[in-house]
């Protein structure tokens, strides 16, 4: 039996009550531990929706999501929060950093609620900033950083609680090509440490590297998806 760290079964997602958007239709997929996967597809066809369901940010209308063989679609809010905290790191296209906190503090917030001691949270934040080549920016506020730097802080934050899974929604969508290159290098390096990475992207540079490629069209998973050995 293969070690599927992420599995979905017949995922359906419908948004809205009056005007209904059927964003995901019967999506079943399996992602092995330590793999690098990409979700591709046209705009508005349900890629982000799929990623949000996998990460437990939202609940499916029907179907199930398993993380480490735990059915997270049936968990209560507290348990689901624990899963997000311990097992999953998120990176968003728009960085989503807290504006009034420094780079280091942004990374620490993720640990603050996970019960990490202040001291180790602080040293962990510095260590992560060092990893993304931003050790000199630990006391900078987001307003003092450039796009590429912001995304690297966000990547560092997603690793704060040492999750097994990193979910990234168009992480390089807001970056210039040089910043994109830098960010990608970090992402690939992180993958080498054994993390399972799932990236929603329009970038062919990322897609080229993917071991698994999922194409979503009109809310459906296109078969067969490419699996590169």
């Amino acid at each position: 039996m293969s070690d599927w760290i992420i599995r979905t079964e017949n995922l359906e997602k419908t948004y809205g009550t009056k005007v209904k958007t059927h964003a995901l239709k019967d999506v079943s997929l399996k992602i092995p531990r330590g793999s690098f996967s990409c979700i591709i597809g046209p705009s508005g066809h349900g890629k982000s929706t799929l990623l949000q369901l996998i990460g437990g940010l939202d609940k499916p209308t029907s179907g199930r999501v398993f993380i480490d063989n735990i059915d997270i679609s049936s968990l209560n809010d507290n348990k689901l929060s624990e899963i997000r905290c311990e097992k999953i790191g998120f990176v968003f296209q728009s960085f989503n950093l807290l504006e009034n906190l420094t780079a280091s503090e942004n990374i620490q917030t993720a640990m603050m609620f996970a019960g990490t001691s202040q001291k180790s949270a602080n040293s962990r934040a510095l260590e992560l900033l060092d990893m993304v080549d931003l050790s000199d920016k630990s006391n900078s506020k987001p307003s003092e950083l450039l796009g590429g730097q912001l995304q690297r802080v966000a990547i560092a934050r997603s690793l704060a609680n040492d999750p097994d899974i990193l979910l990234m929604d168009e992480p390089t969508g807001n970056l210039d090509s040089q910043s994109e290159k830098d960010a990608l290098e970090h992402i690939f390096n992180i993958h080498k440490t054994g993390k399972t990475i799932v990236v929603v992207t329009h970038s062919s540079d990322i897609a080229k590297q993917a071991e698994l490629l999922f194409e979503i069209r009109d809310g459906r998973l296109m078969q067969p998806f490419r699996a590169t050995p």
Binding site: S48, G56, D77, N78, N100, T109, F113, Q118, R157
Partner: protein, 388 residues
């Protein structure tokens, strides 16, 4: 970074809003503190006055309201006067050891209100145990001079031989009394008959302080005095307790006023917190996405509103304390006492009041934060994505 630092950072984000919200709770708590300590102060002032008199029984013209009793004792008001001959009749009752008449009059020195007291010199000296630091005490009952309390002398820089003018008539100061720690220190004394003549009050007195041989028989003596004339006769304690009773209902009124101010402050906090949560809903979503539980979001906002309470309680106590110190003497309409900084009237720092105020303030604020914090905790991680 600790959660407290995180909360502190958040509360200071909108400086203007922070200050106005804090002002709201500060004003609420300050009014609470000021009103409470002023009524406390008035209470101890009244007790002090009653003690000072050293009376077993107090006789005055018919007065129905205990507050007027107090005003009469303080010289702020002249009641229906007691004819002088009554004094002799009371003194003649068997078992009454002394009946000392007082004529208290509000007057002024150098535009500052002062109480002038007309007295029978010898009786008073014996009853009050006065001694003189300089000059010589009144030698006869018709002497056209005044004796002054020690604090009066210091306050107005008066010495033996200076004169004070009342009703256009000059009175030399012939004696300065030794400090007693009572209201005597801030008064001016004049022989009773001279005072009556100067102020055109015929043979009237304000009240009579009566001492008895045996306090157990006080009731009997009171009815004996009532037989002589239609007067208001009460023991010192009765007078005190009825004044304190009124002060008690005054307290309730003052607390109600403070309560309204506090409710307004509480709504200020609710409003501020709701606005802050609306503004930060995306950030709350981010925190939730990174694994922060509902309870933690709730805690963040309760701490934030509680912090308003702590800071507002501190500043409110400080402001209320200062205001009550400045205003207490004004409320007693006695600037002179204020100018003296007489420790009897200054509102003292009270640790129990301080802690009560801080606890109350934190409690009110935290309770105000309950609904906003609950609202915040209901936000989902999707807020982070929706509100880009």
């Amino acid at each position: 970074m600790s959660i407290f630092k995180f909360v502190f950072r958040n509360i200071l984000r909108r400086k203007g809003r922070f200050i106005f919200t804090l002002l709201g709770i500060t004003i609420g708590m300050a009014s609470f503190v000021a009103l409470l300590s002023m009524s406390d102060n008035l209470r101890s002032e009244v007790s002090q006055q009653a003690d000072d008199l050293g009376a077993d029984i107090i006789v005055m013209g018919r007065v129905d309201c205990p507050f007027i009793h107090r005003a009469v004792l303080a010289g702020e008001q002249l009641p229906e006067s007691v004819p002088r001959e009554i004094v002799g009749q009371i003194a003649a009752i068997n078992g009454i050891t002394a009946a000392i008449p007082y004529l208290t009059l509000g007057t002024s020195i150098q535009q500052t209100p002062v109480t002038l007291v007309g007295i029978l010199p010898n009786e008073m000296k014996a009853h009050r145990g006065w001694s003189v630091t300089s000059g010589a005490f009144f030698e006869d009952e018709g002497e056209n001079s005044v004796a002054i309390g020690s604090a009066t002398a210091t306050r107005f820089n008066l010495e033996i031989g200076n004169t004070l003018t009342f009703r256009g008539q000059d009175f030399p100061i012939t004696a300065i009394l030794r400090e007693t720690g009572s209201n005597d220190d801030i008064s001016v004394f004049m022989p009773l008959y001279v005072a009556q003549e100067t102020f055109g009050l015929d043979d009237y007195v304000s009240f009579i302080v009566v001492t008895v041989d045996n306090v157990a028989n006080t009731e009997r003596y009171i009815s004996a005095i009532m037989d002589i004339a239609n007067l208001s006769v009460s023991t010192n304690e009765e007078l005190l307790s009825s004044v304190l009773l009124i002060l008690g209902s005054l307290d309730v009124t003052l607390q109600l006023i403070a309560g309204v101010a506090l409710i307004a402050a509480a709504f200020g906090i609710i409003n501020t917190m709701m606005t802050a949560i609306y503004e930060r809903r995306r950030e709350i979503g981010i925190l939730r996405a990174t694994g922060c539980k509902r309870g933690a979001i709730f805690k963040i906002f309760i701490l934030e509103s509680g912090l308003y309470g702590l800071l507002g309680g501190l500043s409110g106590f400080a402001v209320g304390f200062v205001v009550s110190r400045l205003a207490a003497p004004l409320i007693e309409q006695n600037e002179f006492v204020a100018a003296l900084g007489n420790p009897d009237t200054a509102v003292a720092f009270s640790a129990p009041l301080f802690f009560t105020v801080i606890a109350l303030s934190v409690l009110i604020s935290a309770v105000s934060g309950l609904y906003p914090a609950w609202k915040a905790s209901k936000l989902t991680p999707m807020e982070a994505i929706r509100n880009v």
